[in-house]
Every structure is written in structure tokens, then in C-alpha cells.
Homo-oligomer: 118 residues x 2
């Protein structure tokens, strides 16, 4: 199993709010949150996640940034295990890794007993 | 309404996978993910979220880090709108901001039609 696939195991993570997180799990998950902690990467992520797959040739024109800068951000997302990529001819295509998304979402789940609060 | 409360509005955010995220929303949410993108802060967050509230005097001994370092990480979490703090006498107490958690969790939700994948 690749390192990315291990990171994306959706069964590994009890919600943050259930019990204190183990050191190893925190080290494994933090890079995924860190990858989302940038506005450009969040927008790239949402563009990719909104469709089955997306060509880098359609991502780059949406930003006022150079191709290499977009490629850098896409590499961060891929290395964090949040997207997969595949080269076909000239272009690279990206798609979301659903298990990674679900793992992060599960971590952020709060028990229903927690009031809405602020 | 405070800046933190605005950020924690749970009604503001369609899931990432529904439509591309607006520039303004990405700029607003990225700091919350960035705050979680550190193993120590993730562990602090899970310790705080596991109980109704927690004293900094119980958080610090759980880490092999100095008091000022722990305080720095707690400040990042607070400034990102993920926790609230309250000083009572000598100690500061922290509690999770449920709306902020729910906002991030909602962003990461995937449509049920998305296959489990890897």
C-alpha cells in the first residue's frame, strides 16, 4: 500500500472530539490540513472536487498565477494525498481522493450532544 | 459581530465538492485549515474538543514543550476561530467553537454519489 493510500484510510480516525489524538495520527493527518490551509489550494481543491476529473489546462487559467506556481500547489495537494493525478499526452488530469476527504470530515465531526454554540 | 464569529458562520459554506469556492471564502477559511495543519495544534484541538472545557494547566503537561510554545499554538487556534478562551484567576480555560468545526466539516462533505475510491 502506498504512503498516500495509508494516509487516506477512512477507518483510521475517530473524531477529534471523541478522544485526544495519538502523536502518530496527528503527524499523519496534519499535512493534509496544512495542504488545505492556503486559499489558492482550497480553490484548486474545490474546482477538482466539483467534477469527476479536471485538466491542469482548465485549472491554470482560473488564477492570475504562473503555470509553475499552480503546479507547485497541485503537487502539495497530491503529496498530501488529497488528489490523484494522471498524465495523458500533453496534460495532467487531477481527481479528488474521496477517502482522504472523508477521513478529514470524520475527524471534524462533533457529537450531536454538542450545542451549536458560536 | 466579531471577526471570529463571522468566520464561524456555519451557513456560509457549500461543500468544496459542490461548486468552485469563491476567492473571498477561500481567504476566510484557509487560516482555519492552516491552524489545524500542525501536529501539536491538532493534538491540542482534540484534547480541548474531547471535554466541555480544558485548563491550559492540563494541556501543557501533555507535551514535551515549553509553556510559551503551547501558548503560541493555543493563540493560533484561537485567532483562527477554532477555540474560545477565558481567563479565570491564574489560568486560561479553552473550549471548542462548535460552529467553526461544523463549517469545516461541511466544506469537506462529499456527495453520496462519489464512490469510496482510494
Amino acid at each position: 500500500m502506498s504512503k498516500q493510500a495509508e494516509r487516506a484510510d477512512p477507518g483510521c480516525c475517530a473524531p477529534l472530539a471523541v478522544r485526544p489524538m495519538a502523536v502518530e495520527q496527528a503527524a499523519e493527518v496534519a499535512p493534509m490540513f496544512k495542504a488545505l490551509g492556503d486559499p489558492v489550494r482550497l480553490r484548486l481543491m474545490s474546482m477538482i472536487a466539483s467534477v469527476p476529473e479536471m485538466c491542469v489546462c482548465d485549472l491554470t487559467p482560473a488564477f492570475e498565477l504562473s503555470g509553475p506556481t499552480i503546479s507547485h500547489h497541485l503537487r502539495v495537494l497530491r503529496e498530501a494525498g488529497l488528489v490523484d493525478s494522471e498524465r495523458r499526452g500533453t496534460w495532467v488530469w487531477y481527481r479528488v481522493r474521496p477517502a482522504a476527504f472523508r477521513q478529514l470530515g470524520a475527524l471534524l465531526a462533533l457529537p450531536a450532544s454538542v450545542p451549536a454554540g458560536t
